[in-house]
Symmetry: C2
């Protein structure tokens, strides 16, 4: 069917199997003329190495898993695309796993119990209990994406969520808003690390501006979907004193929130300024276009792949590292940028 093996190439080139192997991998020194002949034979036969045979022999499959809560959330789709590209640069293949944010599933994956094929895991955790993660038995090289928790002995790659959230709320304060809501807090105990960090940044910015933090302006959401954002917005609108701005912890939440604001006849940004988080492509096309914290997803992906490869290749016992990627605040209509096509 598919074909040529090392052995076939060796016969055609009149050398031993091992020599061909050496040429293919560029491992040992092979004399010029010999290499030429081998390369020609490889070309003529269309030889391609058998990945599983390699895996069996070397223990490396060249496949890394990327586990995300969902693929339909644009942020994760964009992140996954960046990870695939970054992995390709390093000659790795990416296997995407969708966890639905299920803690049990996330733990399973963090323990390498999903597909035994993989060399390592890039996990973007959502519901995972940190203590469960800390106690994981079966150790697979693991890098956590977008969550920071110093209790967990694993590498982290993320942006500075606290600083980014602080910048977002500062921006709203800078617009003169004084009653700033926040959508994305969670009732769960403990709340997701992401929610905690963004909330902390938000409150720091409020404090800087001399504004009091009012819990009533932070309705809890179940998940980070449009529907949750919409529900939270309805809650905020039902208050005696509704907010004049909202900072949403994700663009999806912002999308739902803006939808409700629109239905209630509010003008954005005049009546309500909105800032999102993630800077998904859709943010440019929302009505109005959405100001959003823009993590550098390419850098995030590249750093994550790099960290994972280091963990795979390096000693398993090396101390966990934390790497920060950059971010930006993309200003758009929802906080007053003049309208206009993207």
């Amino acid at each position: 069917m598919s074909g040529a093996r090392l052995k076939d190439v060796a016969e055609r080139a009149g050398v031993s199997i091992k020599t061909v192997s050496n040429v293919v991998r560029g491992a040992a020194r092979v004399a010029g003329p010999t290499r030429e002949r081998v390369l020609r034979a490889i070309d003529e036969l269309g030889y391609r190495p058998h990945p599983s045979a390699r895996h069996l022999r070397t223990g490396r499959s060249g496949v890394i898993a990327l586990a995300v809560p969902e693929l339909v959330a644009p942020y994760f789709a964009e992140l996954a695309t960046c990870v695939i590209a970054a992995a390709k640069e390093s000659g790795q293949t990416v296997l995407i796993e969708v966890t639905d944010g299920d803690p049990a599933e996330e733990l399973r994956i963090a323990c390498g119990l999903s597909d035994p094929l993989i060399d390592g895991v890039l996990l973007s955790p959502l519901g995972l209990d940190q203590t469960a993660l800390a106690a994981r038995e079966r150790r697979v090289p693991l890098v956590l994406l977008g969550e920071r928790d110093y209790e967990v002995p694993a590498d982290h790659v993320l942006i500075d969520n606290v600083a980014a959230a602080r910048d977002a709320t500062r921006h709203l304060v800078g617009l003169g808003r004084r009653r700033i809501g926040v959508i994305g807090w969670q009732h769960d105990e403990p709340p997701h690390a992401t929610a905690q960090q963004r909330m902390q940044g938000h409150r720091e910015a409020l404090a800087e501006a001399g504004l009091a933090y009012d819990p009533v302006l932070a309705p809890a959401v179940g998940a980070y979907t449009r529907a949750d954002g919409a529900a939270a917005m309805r809650e905020l609108r039902a208050l005696p004193q509704p907010p004049d701005a909202v900072f949403c912890f994700t663009d999806m939440l912002a999308s739902g929130a803006m939808r409700v604001a629109h239905d209630e006849g509010l003008a954005i940004p005049e009546d309500l300024a909105v800032v999102g988080f993630d800077d998904i492509q859709e943010a440019r096309y929302m009505v109005p276009s959405l100001t959003s914290v823009a993590p550098d997803k390419q850098e995030l992906a590249r750093l994550a792949v790099k960290a994972l490869l280091a963990r795979i290749e390096g000693p398993a016992e090396a101390p966990p590292t934390t790497v920060l990627a950059g971010y930006d605040l993309a200003l758009r209509e929802s906080t007053g940028l003049a309208p206009g096509g993207p």
Copy 2:
């Protein structure tokens, strides 16, 4: 590291390696007590089969590739999620490839030249030249998703694009619209099969209603992005007689188009009714929410995986099959459904 092999289990259970293998695969008959002991040993050691060793021996890796033009397009993200789920039901793992719609890359993947690990390919082609595909050399089990072209000797799984497009335009006609634009036609020669089929359905519906087809109402787009939709809409608005309705070949195009309509102060659906295609989740949250043709993506995915497995397991020479999945027209505000939260 990860651990237990068949051999370890065999030693612990006091049987031969092959017997353990038989138990694991449920292949041959194994006596009750023996099976019990083996199962217990498997459990105690946490044994899990080595996928690459299996692959090497059996020729089956249990991995299928899903190649899509892009993952950030919500339609493909949703489709990919469905494919992953459907594959899991059959014990298969999905490897996602992003082609960017590049014909060369698509051909490479269709020929199985991407990752030699895979058992078969699910390809959602975009730019691929049919003749190139028909002439592909290296045969890998292949199922085409969402494109129909009888020249290509490969299995197809898709919805009836012509009928679906006809229904979409019929709906606009039913609203009393008489000047119906269409966004999604392409200048490329030949245009994508998808564009051709949807255009055909559109024209059939126009003909049914006794409306003339006016090419000026069908501006060409480069790709199926929001930006392309926006550009096409500007073109339509610049006409002496702009349309009172548009049928967009994808929801992304519709999103861009509605964005421009909004910027120009048009009321939707009063001044302009809009129908999209794909029924992405975002369609419910657009402002206004978008009426859209809704392919049954779950069914599509399930049928595709089924067809691919049949091709992998069956004889390579079986004649190509075409399977249709269902679709629906989801009615929303953009064509007059009363507004209201989703």
